[in-house]
Symmetry: C2
Subunit: 426 residues, 2 copies
């Protein structure tokens, strides 16, 4: 089945917003085995909306539109669909009732205008889709072997409608499902992962593809199956093989998983706590961990020691360390972690000290140099990272934070951390 | 002048990435008074690329393509442009030299393949645009009153090329400029701003439009002027009028300004320091401030006191406060700020304590309730915020952080903070 996505909205053509609707819809359609051949965007212009809709319907089985469902005269997606199929527009009373109720609740005293009324009219025979987050319902029109699904433009409204009634419709009309499973990989570069898994890229059931993020790689397995079949038997053996080859570098399964959510779960499941001593990341580690609901089980307190003197005063870093090797050093990272663990009583302490830039680099420690320390009951280890590249402060800080979480993950799992130095307790 | 943007890339049609290139290009073109009527995306399919290019050129003066410049057989945007205009492909020696040098530097030992060679071929007579961030140069082909600009797909490469040689070209072919000035507004809701500025929306020089973000409003003034004319005389009087009406709610001028960068500059210019005592924001405030280069001038240390007991132990909140009114209270916020200021010696201390959810809400303090305290030499004030709405933890934390920065901003400026309670020093 061939689908075309038609986005209507002058704000898209002005570049005021990115067309995330088209991405979302394309991604979801691929899961139903529906191919998107074209995404087309036009403004709120009757002539161009009409022409784009005609062209799209002439070459596709299914057209999904977003936008142009508002109350103003400009908004005419539904009207153009009705015109294409030669259908009259009809009032849908339940939509008008819902709209009236919504206006009464959120804008008491405001009258229901002629324009609002427009939002309750649909091509005759259309299946109406409720809008749980806004005033504009959508609809599906099927005729002459073609179908058009009309969705609102605001992403929250569009997604809710897609996941509800439109998904039910797609489940009905599509016989296949394309399933995907994502393995999240940290600490091995894309080209290394590629050569380690090389022969697996020739598989057909499932297919395997890599996606490279800023600081991690995702391996995606995909398989097309008849509706109702479980993809586990296809994915499981390949996942086992990938894990056998990549070992601990595979940190989670699932597209939405992150290195910090993985660490959060590891700590919570083991009833362990952590404290951070952050210099250049400056609260980023704590903030990322606390993003997880239930974070109070694993983090009680955390320290940002950005100034040199604060590392000594708050964390007990030795003045001699600061004076001799400086704060961007293995020694300082170790003492920061040990100090934070001591004052907090946490099971694990993670320290980060480095040069995020743009200034502050030296020949020994150029911008992008970061030391991460992890202290626990077994002792303290420190690893030096170099995030070089002509990038900004934010890039260095984010890479440092992810690397720190990964070191903590490996330490919790009791693994050797490659390239890390074990430090004698200070 | 009418432009069409043609994006080539199967990854866009699969929904793997959003088409941020089209947004970026549209937004920049609008500044040259060039109208984008359509954005079209097709996959790496010769037939559909060709057909889309033909259609685009038949109805536009300028077509800008992105993607399809890679070394593989799939990549054929340039070839299709050559075919459209009936031009042969020719080797561009400087591009080949640059490519060879790039491969030598980044992939020593790897040969320059037949496929790489392809990236140095262009339609005869094309103006070549260097790629400072990747291997694929772009080009501009002008013929028969039409022009096609061919850009790479990866956003960093595309943007660098756009800002360099393509911008120079657009400056040459366009006689007008559309200038914009953004006023950033905090603490007044969109509909309030709308009614306060109501009559100004009828202006034509400049036009005025509002954009609503998660927690702030932007007012954009725009004006079209002949090349070389200064928009200041058009913008200045309207900016003055907006500031007269909205007062301190206007916190900055400039699209890229943020509430935290504004606070950072205020502190640095006054040579003042700040410390945070964060509970539910958990390091977010510190992290946002430290994102600014030079942050060590204004922040030395900062505290995340997430657990109840840590507020007492680290910040000196009174046990009695915790036991009687609890940690989500005016008293606790005040004592947290005062404690952080006392132990750090900073000029300003900002505390945040609240319920980010999804659990922990009570009838008095439902999820989304946040107390922000600011302490300075004049005393301490606390304001209670309610970020209600069916949203997630991240949403509450981000709104709380922005609100805290805004309170600090007003306090630094010596303004009254509406709805805040002045607390006696603990």
């Amino acid at each position: 089945m061939i689908c075309e996505i038609l986005s209507v909205g002058t704000e898209l053509l002005m570049g005021q917003i990115a067309n995330t609707d088209a991405q979302y819809i394309s991604s979801r359609l691929s899961e139903f085995g529906i191919s998107v051949y074209r995404q087309v965007t036009v403004g709120d212009n009757p002539q161009r909306v009409k022409e784009a809709l005609n062209t799209a319907l002439s070459r596709s089985d299914l057209v999904i539109t977003t936008g142009g469902l508002g109350p103003t005269e400009d908004d005419l997606t539904k009207e153009m669909v009705a015109e294409y199929f030669g259908l009259p527009m009809e009032l849908h009373q339940p939509s008008l009732d819902a709209l009236t109720e919504r206006i009464r609740r959120y804008h008491p005293g405001r009258p229901v205008t002629e324009n609002n009324l427009k939002q309750a009219y649909f091509p005759k025979g259309a299946v109406i889709m409720k809008n749980s987050c806004g005033t504009a319902p959508g609809c599906i029109v099927e005729r002459d072997g073609k179908a058009v699904a009309v969705l609102p433009g605001p992403p929250r409204e569009m997604r809710a409608m897609f996941e509800g009634e439109l998904t039910a419709y797609l489940e009905k009309i599509s016989d296949v499902r394309i399933h995907s499973r994502f393995l999240k990989i940290f600490g091995v570069g894309e080209s290394n992962v590629e050569s380690i898994l090389q022969d697996l890229f020739h598989l057909e059931n499932p297919t395997l593809a890599l996606y490279c993020g800023t600081n991690e790689v995702q391996a995606r397995m995909s398989v097309q199956l008849p509706k109702g079949e479980d993809p586990g038997r296809v994915f499981d053996p390949v996942e086992r093989e990938i894990r056998r080859r990549l070992g601990d570098a595979v940190y989670a399964v699932g597209r939405g998983e992150t290195i910090e959510s993985t660490v959060f779960r590891l700590l919570r499941d083991r009833k362990k706590t952590v404290v951070f001593a952050e210099s250049c990341t400056g609260g980023l580690l704590a903030s990322m961990l606390i993003e997880n609901a239930g974070a109070s089980d694993v983090l009680r307190e955390s320290y940002v020691t950005y100034g040199e003197e604060t590392k000594v005063r708050i964390l007990g870093v030795r003045q001699r360390t600061v004076d001799t090797v400086g704060v961007v050093s293995t020694e300082c990272a170790a003492e920061m972690a040990e100090g934070a663990r001591r004052i907090s009583g946490a099971d694990y302490a993670v320290s980060v000290t480095g040069v995020a830039g743009p200034d502050g680099g030296t020949p020994e420690n150029p911008v992008g140099t970061v030391y991460v320390g992890v202290a626990d009951e077994r002792g303290t280890c420190v690893k030096r990272f170099c995030f070089l590249g002509d990038r900004d402060r934010s890039w260095v800080r984010n890479l440092a934070a992810a690397a720190a979480f990964n070191m903590l993950r490996l330490r919790i799992l009791g693994r050797e951390i490659e390239g890390a130095q074990e430090c004698a307790k200070g």
